[in-house]
């Protein structure tokens, strides 16, 4: 039982050493970061917001509002379609529950009316009997729309928060209609809140083709007053890849650099565009990724729709500029500049290009991301000042060090330098494994998380205690040193596993139901229990087996 094959011993040692290597950057002072490879030095545990300071928001999207707005548009379009097909109706109302009802004058026209409604949007569902028609979106369409609204909001939030220059914001969906936004390092949230619901600027401009041609891809030295120089998205991404430092400088420049300054200083790919705005993003109704028909080649394309005013200006502009490029500018970047193939009238159009389906998805999202699709209400807010976080780190560290010291003291006192030492070494390795695990998983350490670590320390010697007490009993029953150790391990194993697994159940459920810092507690506690199963049953066994083989003691000093 105690005997371990050599390869297992080596495997255990290698595993432990690797874990130590992973945990090491957490302990090293930051001053030696420059000497280490970057990927390794960055392998640190994320500190939760409660420790490093920052703001945590839970935002709720007003999906009812979105639906109502959408249905009002549907009602308008349906009214127009019905008039066009000369279907008479008495009443057409938008219900507060996201339905539109229409009452026809002539029941016989029902089929025509339904056809007209389907022409507005094929995903509309019609119900009811007689002269009344109830119009709503299918449940699938509603789910799709809801997901789209949240995805779009997340994308916009990311752009807005990035703009404030903060590092590593967390923006994730929570449940059906919520978004969790965590911004480390900020104390005054007024500015951030103001940014959240700001509209991104989306505009369509013509490319100054003469200037582009004459400068031959390079930067024109003199710009006419009607023209502006704007970097393209591709160009910025290429710059980011080739010269991350320059990209950082652009991000952190204060005051912010104008597009032209960026072009002149860093030379990303830029385009000269006319300043005159053809259509603004406020006139864009929708944009989605789709495919051309098979006859046309089946390529992925982006289709978009304008409102009436936008449609008219767009139609006029495209009619006079066939063969020229139309730049789509979003917040000081040209996201794409497709060539106008034909006049685009009728309020909708498509953008073709050498897109992959995924790119069209992204572009459509960016096009839509002019404005937030829904009002976001802050329903939970937690802000922690950086100095408060530093206090918490200090308190947590002191508690952890004192707690660990006390536990080690008791283990030494009860089981002596040898066995107490083994248990304490196992506890140390256990802590190392938890730190390594958290670094690798990218889990955040919170203040309750530190409490979880301290608790792990207290509980992690339990398995050793179980085993040692059992060994003592076996020894008292007159067994030999080897016999007592072997029997002790074997008999204690069931209790060790059962007691850890039950505690683990509590930890995992706590993780499932908890949020924020509590989740941090559950993470470190559960991880601690898991790694503890390794240290208690395998690691200490290896220590003892090696020691037994080396010293071959007749008597155990336990």
């Amino acid at each position: 039982m105690l005997h371990l094959p050599r390869w297992q011993t080596i495997a255990i040692i290698v595993f432990t050493a690797l874990a130590g290597l992973f945990a090491l950057p957490n302990i090293l002072p930051e001053s030696i970061d420059d000497l280490l490879p970057k990927w390794y030095a960055q392998n640190r545990i994320n500190l939760g917001l409660d420790l490093r300071g920052g703001a945590h928001f839970l935002l709720e999207a007003d999906l009812r509002g979105v639906l109502n707005e959408r249905m009002t548009n549907v009602a308008d379009s349906v009214r127009g379609e019905l008039r066009k097909k000369q279907v008479g109706f008495k009443e057409l109302t938008v219900e507060p529950n996201g339905h539109v009802t229409v009452e026809l004058r002539d029941e016989g026209q029902r089929a025509t009316a339904i056809e007209a409604i389907r022409a507005v949007d094929p995903s509309l569902v019609t119900e009811g009997a007689g002269p009344k028609i109830d119009i709503s979106f299918s449940p699938q369409e509603l789910t799709r729309k809801r997901k789209e609204v949240i995805d779009q909001s997340i994308e916009i939030l990311r752009r807005r928060v990035d703009e404030t220059g903060t590092i590593e914001p967390t923006i994730v969906r929570e449940g059906d209609d919520r978004i969790l936004l965590q911004v480390p390092g900020i104390k005054d949230t007024t500015d951030l809140k103001r940014k959240i619901n700001q509209t991104a600027k989306l505009t369509f401009h013509l490319v100054n083709e003469d200037l582009a041609a004459s400068s031959g891809g390079g930067l024109p030295s003199v710009l006419p007053p009607t023209t502006a120089l704007v970097p393209t998205r591709e160009g910025m991404q290429a710059l980011k890849a080739a010269n991350p430092k320059a990209f950082d400088e652009i991000q952190s420049a204060n005051p912010r650099l104008s597009p032209e300054q960026i072009c002149r200083r860093y030379h990303p790919l830029c385009l000269p565009i006319f300043k005159r705005v053809i259509v603004g993003g406020e006139d864009l109704d929708d944009a989605k990724a789709t495919f051309e028909s098979q006859q046309q080649g089946g390529r992925p394309i982006i289709s978009f729709t304008f409102n009436a005013a936008g449609g008219r200006s767009f139609c006029a502009a495209t009619r006079h500029n066939i063969g020229k490029r139309l730049a789509i500018q979003l917040d000081n970047e040209i996201i794409s500049a497709p060539v106008v193939q034909s006049a685009i009238c009728g309020g909708s159009g498509i953008i073709t290009g050498a897109f992959t389906p995924q790119q069209t998805q992204e572009q459509a999202l960016l096009l839509r991301s002019g404005a937030l699709p829904a009002t976001l209400t802050i329903i939970e807010e937690r802000t922690v000042g950086a100095d408060l976080g530093a206090d918490a780190i200090h308190a947590g560290t002191v508690a952890a060090v004192v707690g660990t010291g006390l536990v080690m003291f008791f283990m030494f006192g009860t089981y002596g330098p040898l066995f107490g030492g083994f248990a304490n070494l196992a506890m140390g390795v256990n802590l190392l494994l938890v730190l390594a695990g958290m670094s690798v998983l990218g889990a955040s350490l919170t203040l309750p998380g530190i409490a979880g670590l301290v608790l792990t320390v207290g509980m992690s010697v339990d398995s050793n205690v179980l085993i040692y007490e059992r060994v003592r009993e076996e020894k008292a029953n007159g067994r030999s040193a080897l016999g007592a150790l072997t029997a002790g391990y074997e008999r204690a194993l069931a209790a060790v596993i059962d007691s850890n697994l039950t505690a683990l159940i509590a930890g995992v459920l706590l993780f499932g139901f908890g949020s924020g810092p509590i989740r941090g507690f559950a993470t470190s506690l559960s991880l601690g229990l898991l790694t503890h199963l390794f240290t208690a049953t395998i690691f200490t066994r290896m220590l003892l087996a090696t020691w037994m083989r080396w010293r071959r003691p007749k008597e155990l000093t336990l």
Partner: protein, 391 residues
């Protein structure tokens, strides 16, 4: 001295634990009943996580905090119930403000904040009765961007398309009463900030709106019940059903009496406290499993011995481990209580109690429970034969 092993508990104790089980059961029942009565009569001191509301941590810019003066200042703000407590050291305090309901008073506060922060000439008035609408009036004409900036000064974020596009000097913001209630938390934070910022630094704020509060409460209750159920089911699969029930009762006992501690000392019952309760359940079961494991083993070994004797024997045999582990966990948690800081205080206090009660309950509740659940050695025979057949 340190360098020689010590036996904290003598090797062969023969304490008659089960002999005192009636006393213990009586005491536990009393404590549990009192805890439940306490919850219903006095109620738990819910933190803002569950109740909704605002918590602001402040530190005096100079000297120690004057709680009386601060209480007087914040109490007179008209934002409902405000409670204060020292938090950590003498110069820090925690200000708790009750959940804001989004009534007319909140709009009046927004009006005052607007006048103070943006300038005279501004006014904020409630909109039509029955809606949550709010009407802003500016001293001059503003465009959409100006409006957005203005309303954000009172913590309101709205979509540009909901703001007037043309230049005007009034803007009606459409809100449901629920949305206004959520927004009013922001207003109250600004009211407190304005009132105390000349003497105090705000170190951290938390606000939980009415909606999230009730949801957290709901998921919290589910979390506790699910945890208890999952552990009991695990025990039932690994042991006989009586052990599962015994473990469940002892966990319930620990959870209820811990809640009693929260009632008795008026400790904040927050999300962290809930985490403590769940951890206690986990620790308690950890302890119980070890004793149960030995009970099962001894029942197989000593078939002739009565249940009470087997229980006594098993508890005594595992006693030194029980004491030792309780000590290590206790000192670790004690370090948290003393050094962990005010944020972890309620959590650590609860845990400290949990260590004691968890150890107690695994002996006197879980094991004594087995006696009344009529666990009989015969029930092990079947499994025993199975084991023999395998061998």
């Amino acid at each position: 001295m340190l360098w020689k092993p010590h036996h904290i508990v003598p090797a062969h104790t023969k304490i008659d634990f089960m002999g005192h089980r009636l006393w213990a059961l009586g005491l536990s029942t009393l404590i549990n009943v009192l805890s439940l009565v306490g919850v219903f009569v006095f109620g738990l001191n819910f933190g803002i996580d569950f109740e909704g509301g605002i918590a602001i941590q402040v530190r005096a810019k100079q000297g120690t905090i004057q709680l009386d003066e601060l209480r007087h200042t914040t109490g007179a703000l008209g934002i409902g119930e405000v409670s204060l407590q020292e938090f950590g050291d003498k110069s820090s305090a925690l200000i708790r403000v009750q959940r804001q309901e989004g009534n007319a008073a909140c709009v009046a506060h927004a009006d005052a904040v607007m006048k103070r922060r943006v300038g005279n000439g501004w006014s904020v008035k409630p909109g039509a009765e029955g809606t949550g609408d709010v009407v802003f009036t500016a001293p001059g004409q503003l465009d959409a961007a100006g409006w957005r900036d203005a309303v954000s000064r009172v913590g309101l974020t709205v979509l540009e398309r909901e703001l007037p596009r043309a230049n005007t000097n009034t803007a009606k913001i459409d809100m449901t009463p629920e949305q206004r209630a959520e927004w009013c938390q922001q207003v109250a934070i600004k009211v407190v900030d304005d009132a105390i910022s000349d003497k105090y630094d705000i170190r951290g704020t938390e606000s939980v709106g009415p909606k999230v509060g009730s949801e957290l409460m709901h998921t919290g209750i589910i979390a506790v019940l699910a945890t208890l159920a999952a552990i009991a089911i695990y025990m039932w699969f690994r042991f006989e059903w009586q052990f599962g029930v015994g473990a469940l009762i002892s966990m319930l006992h620990d959870v209820i009496s811990t809640i009693g501690i929260f009632v008795l000392f008026r400790i904040d019952f927050s999300l962290t406290a809930l985490a403590a309760v769940l951890t206690i359940a986990g620790y308690s079961i950890n302890d119980t499993v070890v004793v149960f494991d030995r009970v099962r083993e001894n029942m197989r070994r000593y078939k002739k011995l009565g249940l009470v004797d087997v229980l006594n024997l098993s508890i005594n045999e595992t006693l030194s481990r029980t004491v030792m582990t309780s000590i290590t966990v206790f000192v670790a948690v004690l370090a948290l209580v003393i050094f962990g800081g005010p944020v972890l205080y309620s959590f650590s206090i609860a845990m400290l109690w949990g260590v004691i009660v968890g150890t107690y309950s695994s002996i006197w509740i879980a094991c004594a429970g087995l006696v009344y659940l009529k666990l009989r050695p015969e029930q092990f025979r079947h499994e025993d034969e199975g084991a023999k057949a395998k061998a």
